[in-house]
């Protein structure tokens, strides 16, 4: 029942109890990950054997390779960053073009095209991955058969991972940027044209500054989504694994607290990113929440 109505005590009490249970459910997994990053034991499991920073700073000699000495882990972290940067750049550029296409142009089939742009959001990630894998290798095989060309970038590897993640993240970027462009007051641009501004000047000094919050927001979302993508990436990955795939492999072998250490690092980094984004957004009216 709503706040303005009388609520019996049992209902109020159970609301509080349920709320506490719900947030415990939400945070318990994250808390144990963070806590066991500091446990002085070779496995991220109880009992608690005391506090250590070995899983961050331990080096090969001590028998415990900490995160900052784990070359494979750091390498995959870097791979993820590189992939996420590419996905972000591509998604924001194409997403912006798509937003202008949807909001500013008229052509036959526009309705169908804008619906098709949403389709990647309801295709399971695994299927996006295998279809792109199959299509890319069909082209690579054709090029090989017809002209003897070896198109290495169409074989499983980072370029395909970038394309695979881009294929659905750009849908989200498009939605975010279109939502903001829709609310733009077109008379501002018309006034500028009347005052003699060129197309480029109008775009640069009026339209893009207005879109800036949405551009930054969609960049942050694209980066985070690329960073944590697993399903599509797993199907397209070659010899260099991004972090999620590397962590998955280690988790199947039996995890050491190094995984907790890297997880904690990710939590802190994404929290910082998300909080900066929220703070930046506060005065604005960006409505998209994820």
């Amino acid at each position: 029942m709503i706040a303005s109505l009388p609520r019996p005590l049992w209902l109020r009490a159970s609301t509080v109890v349920y709320g506490l249970a719900f947030f415990a459910f939400l945070f318990l997994p994250l808390v144990v990950v963070a806590v066991f990053a500091f446990n002085d034991a070779p496995y991220p499991a109880p009992p608690w054997r005391g506090f250590t920073l070995d899983w961050f700073v331990g080096h090969d000699g001590s028998g415990r390779t900490g995160l900052f000495a784990d070359a494979a882990m750091l390498g995959s972290l870097w791979t993820s960053v590189v992939v996420a940067c590419w996905v972000t750049i591509l998604s924001v550029l194409v997403g912006t073009a798509n937003a202008f296409l949807i909001e500013r142009t008229q052509f036959r089939g526009k309705q169908a095209l804008s619906l098709l742009m949403l389709a990647p959001l309801v295709i399971p990630g695994v299927i996006l991955g295998i279809s792109i894998l199959a299509f890319a290798s069909r082209i690579a095989n054709l090029a090989d058969d017809l002209w003897g060309l070896e198109l290495e970038f169409l074989r499983p590897g980072l370029p395909l991972v970038v394309l695979g993640q881009f294929s659905y993240i750009v849908s989200i970027a498009t939605l975010t940027i279109t939502a903001r462009l829709k609310r733009f007051d077109i008379t501002l641009e018309e006034a500028a044209y009347n005052l003699g501004a060129s197309r480029l000047a109008v775009l640069w000094t009026i339209t893009l500054p207005y879109l800036k919050p949405a551009l930054i927001g969609s960049a942050a979302i694209s980066f985070l989504m690329s960073f944590e993508n697993f399903n599509t990436t797993l199907m397209l990955v070659g010899s260099d694994s991004p972090l999620t795939v590397m962590m998955y492999g280690r988790m199947r072998e039996g995890a050491t607290p190094v995984l907790n250490a890297v997880s904690l690092l990710l939590m802190v980094a994404s929290a910082v990113l998300a909080l900066t984004m929220m703070r930046g957004n506060k005065p604005g009216t960006s409505n998209n929440t994820h």
Binding site: M1, I2, A3, S4, L5, T15, F22, F25, L26, F27, L28, P29, L30, V32, Y43, P44, A45, P46, P47, L93, V94, A97, L101, T105, F107, L113, L115, L116, L118, A119, V122, I123, P124, G125, V126, I127, L128, I130, S131, I132, A134, F135, R138, A179, E228, F230, N231, L243, T244, M247, Y248, M251, R252, L259, S263, L266, M267, S270, T289, H290
Partner: protein, 298 residues
């Protein structure tokens, strides 16, 4: 602008046309090259069979295999059923929290609770799954706690059960249910509920006759997204379910990557896509929602 040309309107029409082409090009490249053509290729792969090395002929053998091999369609049905159960559980768990945030708390508490719902989803699914593994595995936190409390004499293995997979799936999709629910419930006018209460309605009848009909679009939007994400999930079922997970995406992975049987994997992929499309479509039809609006909500 420089208008030295003989026919300015014609020139501006040319400019507009050029702009349209330039804006259309990336969208078409993306949709054709990464969505449409790959799916056509997947469809063609699924409907051919290898008769000799590098020789193929059209065939429906892969789909026949799916129906003749009990393991495959069992896994398929199981994945669908578990996804439906997970979606229902997510809805049941998310609703009270969404209600609390939308209707019961105000101001600072409200935005704090809302942000608290978002926080776990800033970190990747891998990290969240690792957390559940540390909590539930035989040497993990909860079994140790149960022994300490005297509930069980020795640690029990809580991983690798269907219930564990469900917990993981519900956890992973919670956000995608909470957000559409909150936005649907916030748009419900409080005075409607007060009026119903004054007219003698009780909690249950108000929920059934006012709240749920009003929130239906949000409920359906959340359910569709959660169902779709659950059905296509790979990480959570394989890690929390271990060898017994029997998730359909796992079959697709095995066929494609482990066995290199792309024809069979493509057929499986198509079946999964058909299933998720059918359910999404049925959900939209049942609730009278439009695809574009639902996706913008979520």
């Amino acid at each position: 602008m420089n208008m030295s040309s003989a026919d300015p309107t014609r020139q501006s029409r040319h400019v507009a046309r050029l702009m349209l082409m330039l804006l259309l090009a990336p969208a078409l490249l993306w949709l054709l090259g990464l969505i449409v053509l790959p799916h056509v290729e997947l469809g063609m792969l699924s409907m051919r069979a290898r008769v000799a090395p590098r020789v193929y002929e059209p065939s429906l053998a892969q789909f026949r295999t799916f129906f003749e091999e009990p393991l495959y369609w069992h896994t398929f049905m199981r994945t669908a059923l578990m996804s439906i159960v997970a979606t229902a559980l997510t809805l049941l768990m998310a609703f009270p929290i969404a209600w609390t945030i939308a209707k019961l708390v105000r101001g600072h508490t409200k935005s704090m609770l809302f942000v608290m719902c978002l926080i776990p989803f800033w970190v990747s699914e891998t990290v969240r799954t690792l957390g559940w593994m540390i909590l539930l595995r035989e040497s993990g936190v909860l079994p140790a706690l149960l022994v300490w409390l005297g509930v069980t004499p020795a640690p029990v293995e809580l991983l690798y059960h269907d219930a564990t997979i469900l917990v993981g799936l519900v956890y992973t999709s919670m956000l995608f249910m909470v957000i559409p629910l909150i936005s649907a419930l916030e748009s419900l006018d409080d005075s409607l509920i007060e009026a119903a209460y004054d007219l003698g309605g009780n909690g249950w009848s108000i929920l059934r006759q006012i709240v749920i009909p009003h929130a239906a679009p949000g409920i359906v939007a959340g359910c569709i997204v959660v169902f779709m994400l659950t059905l296509g999930n790979y990480l959570t079922p394989t890690l929390l379910g271990g060898k017994n997970s029997q998730w359909f995406t796992e079959q697709i992975y095995t066929q494609f990557i482990t066995r290199f049987n792309w024809e069979q994997g493509a057929a499986f992929g198509f079946l999964l896509l058909a299933l998720s499309t059918a359910i999404v479509w049925a959900g939209l039809k049942l609730s009278g929602q439009k695809f574009g609006e639902v996706m913008q909500r979520s």
